[in-house]
C-alpha cells in the first residue's frame, strides 16, 4: 500500500507541476540557506584554523608589553632564550626574533617587505620549509653573515620568474645580502602577517645591521605536545618575571600567546556565528512549511470531490490521510533535494569567489533534508486530517 500511496503522490505532483514547484520554493530556499550557511561557516573556520596552525602547533609566542611602566616595552635579552631552553622542561626549541620593515631591491625592482632576524630554530618552531636552497649554516649564524632566505612573494616580485634567485644578491634598504634559500608558499598567516612576504636573515645580522641592538623582540617557544601548555606557560611567566625583576605586585610586562588557544577561541566563536546564521536560515524552512500547509489546505478544498470519489470507492480514512500526508512529505523531500543541490552549487560558487576552502559537511545535508521531511509531516498532518475526516456524501456533492 505504501508504494501505491507514493505513486499517487507523485501523480498528483506531476498533475500540478508548477504549483508544486512554487509550493516547495520555501523549502528549497530554506534547505539551501541552512546548508550553504553551515558549509561556508565550516570553510571559514577551516581556513582560519589552517592559518593559525601554519604558525606552528604547540608553539608559544612571547611578546614584550608595557606592563605597569609607560614608554616603549622592554625587549628580551639573548640570555632569556638560553634560560628558557635550559630551565623549562618540555621545551623543544626556543628562538629569538627581531623584525623590521624594509624595502627589498633587486635589479631595479622595489618591494616592501619585512626582514625577520632569526636562527634556524625559528624555522623549525614555525614549521617553515624551504622550496629550494638551504638554511643558515652555524658559521653564518655565529658570524652574522649577510645571507637571506626569501618568501615566495618576495621572489615573485623582484626576481625574474625564469631564473633562480639562489646565489643572487639583493638589497634590503642599504644592506646587501646573498639569497641562499626560498620559503615554501603558505598563504596568509594569522594576525594579518603575510607569511610569504618576508625575508629571513640570521638574528645577529639583523640585530647588527638593522635594529642596532642585541635585544630580542619575540621569543618563539616550541614545546613537546606531551606537556601541558598551561604548565609550560606558568613556568615561562615565573622565569621571565624573575629574569625581568618584577615585584610581586607588578603586572607582567610580556604577553604569551598560545596558537592552540587562538585556534580554539576563533573557531569557537565562528561556530557560534555559523549556528546563529543556520538558525536564522531555519526560520525560512519553517515559513516554507507554513506555505506547504497553506497549499495543502487549498488542495484539500479543491479536491473535495476527488476525496469523495476515493472514499466512495472504498478508500479508508487513514488511506486518504496517508495520501495527503505523503504528498506533503514528498513535496518537502523533493524541495529538500533541490535545496541540497542548490546549496552545493551556491557553496562551491561562494567559496571559490571568496577563496575559502569548500568544506562539504554530509551531516548538515542529512540534518537539513531530514528537517524538511519532518516539516512535511508536521505541516502536512492538519490538511491530511481534514481530508480524511470529510463525509463522502458531502464531498461528492461539493461543487
Amino acid at each position: 500500500m505504501f508504494g501505491t500511496t507514493l505513486l499517487l503522490a507523485f501523480r498528483e505532483i506531476r498533475r500540478h507541476l508548477l504549483r508544486s514547484f512554487l509550493t516547495t520554493l520555501g523549502i528549497i530556499i530554506g534547505v539551501a540557506a541552512v546548508i550553504t550557511m553551515v558549509t561556508l561557516g565550516n570553510g571559514v573556520s577551516k581556513s582560519v584554523e589552517d592559518q593559525i596552525s601554519s604558525l606552528g602547533t604547540n608553539v608559544l609566542m612571547v611578546f614584550p608589553t608595557r606592563g605597569d611602566r609607560s614608554g616603549t616595552p622592554r625587549q628580551f635579552k639573548s640570555s632569556d632564550i638560553e634560560a628558557i631552553r635550559t630551565q623549562i622542561a618540555g621545551v623543544k626549541t626556543v628562538a629569538g626574533q627581531v623584525s623590521q620593515s624594509v624595502t627589498a631591491i633587486h635589479n631595479g625592482q622595489n618591494w616592501a617587505t619585512t626582514v625577520n632576524g632569526a636562527n634556524d630554530t625559528f624555522l623549525v618552531a614555525r614549521n617553515m620549509e624551504l622550496s629550494s636552497g638551504r638554511i643558515f649554516s652555524d658559521t653564518e649564524q655565529e658570524a652574522g653573515k649577510s645571507v637571506c632566505i626569501i618568501g615566495s612573494k618576495v621572489q615573485s616580485n623582484i626576481f625574474q620568474a625564469d631564473t633562480s634567485p639562489l646565489g643572487q644578491r639583493m638589497r634590503l634598504d642599504t644592506v646587501s645580502c646573498t639569497v641562499i634559500g626560498v620559503l615554501k608558499e603558505r598563504g596568509q598567516g594569522g594576525g594579518g602577517q603575510d607569511q610569504d612576504n618576508m625575508v629571513v636573515m640570521p638574528l645577529k645580522t639583523v640585530q647588527r645591521r638593522f635594529t642596532g641592538s642585541p635585544d630580542i623582540q619575540t621569543i618563539v617557544v616550541a614545546y613537546d605536545g606531551q606537556y601541558d601548555s598551561t604548565s609550560i606557560q606558568n613556568q615561562l611567566v615565573k622565569l621571565l618575571r624573575d629574569r625581568r625583576h618584577l615585584s610581586d605586585a607588578a603586572e607582567n610586562d610580556f604577553n604569551i600567546i598560545d596558537t592552540a588557544q587562538i585556534t580554539a577561541a576563533v573557531t569557537g566563536s565562528l561556530s557560534v556565528i555559523t549556528a546563529f546564521l543556520a538558525a536564522v536560515a531555519a526560520i525560512s524552512l519553517i515559513v516554507g512549511g507554513v506555505g506547504i500547509m497553506n497549499i495543502m489546505l487549498v488542495s484539500v478544498t479543491e479536491r473535495t470531490r476527488e476525496i469523495g470519489i476515493r472514499l466512495a470507492i472504498g478508500a479508508l480514512a487513514r488511506e486518504v490521510r496517508m495520501q495527503f500526508l505523503t504528498e506533503a512529505v514528498v513535496l518537502c523531500c523533493l524541495g529538500g533535494m533541490v535545496g541540497m543541490v542548490l546549496a552545493l552549487g551556491l557553496s562551491l560558487a561562494i567559496t571559490s569567489a571568496a577563496k575559502v576552502p569548500f568544506a562539504f559537511d554530509p551531516m548538515i545535508n542529512i540534518v537539513a533534508f531530514g528537517f524538511s521531511a519532518l516539516i512535511g509531516v508536521v505541516f502536512g498532518y492538519f490538511p491530511a486530517q481534514r481530508a480524511a475526516a470529510l463525509d463522502p456524501i458531502e464531498a461528492l456533492r461539493h461543487e
Binding site: T4, R305, I313, G314, A317, I393
Partner: protein, 251 residues
Amino acid sequence: MTDAPLIRLSGITKTFGKGTAAFQALKGVDLDIMRGDFMAVMGPSGSGKSTTMNILGCLDIPTSGTFTFRDVPVQSLNRDQRSLLRRQYLGFVFQGFNLLARTSALENVELPLLYRGESKAARREAAMAALDKVGLAPWATHTPAELSGGQQQRVAIARAIVTNPDVLLADEPTGNLDTERSVEIMELLTDLNRNSGITILLVTHEPEMAAFAHTVVHFRDGLVERIERNHRPGQPVDGVAPPDVVVEGKD
C-alpha cells in the same frame, strides 16, 4: 440466485438535524432487493430516494431500522468497515461522472484496484478488460477532458465494474447526457446486469430510463409508495406504464 434477498431494508428511518430543526427524510422504508435485479428508484425531490441510495451505498447509516447486505448488518458497522464493504462489493456511477481530471481513463479505472492493493500488472489487465467491456479500450490513454460526456460516463462505469462488484449504484447516470447517449448507457447497464450478473440500483427522473429496469420503486414523502415489475424491460414506456407492467400496491 438464492431465495434470501441480497439486500434487505426493514423499518429504515433517517432523521437529519436535532430537536425542532429535525427533519425525517425516511419514515420506515422496507425493501428487498434480490441478487441480479435491475431496480430503478424514482420519486420527486425530497421523497427520500437519495437518502435511501446513500444508505444502500453504505455511505450513510440509518437512524433506526436494519439494513442487511450479504447477511451483514450494515447499520452497526463503523466508517472503515463500510469503506471495506464498498471497496469489495459496490460500484458507483454518478450523474457528474466524477472522474479524476488530468488522469487517463486507464488510471481512473485502476483507482479502485489501487485501494485493493493489487499489483500493477493485475491492475492494468483488469482496467483494460473493464474499458474493453464498455467499448473504450482504444481511449485508455485519454484524459476526461479529451472524451465526450457519454464516453466519460462509460469510463465511470468501467471504474465501477473493474472490481466485479455485487451491486452497481447509479445515481442519475444519464442526467447529463442526450437521449441517444442515455440509451447507450442504459443498454450498457442492461448488458452488465444480464451478462455479468451485477445487481443494478438506478436512480432516475426519466421514465424512459426507468423502463430499462426490471423493478421500479417509487418513493414519496420518505416512504416506498409502490413497486412496479416490468416484464419487458428495455422498452421505453413513453411515460405510460405498458400493459405488461404489474403494479404492486404498497402504502
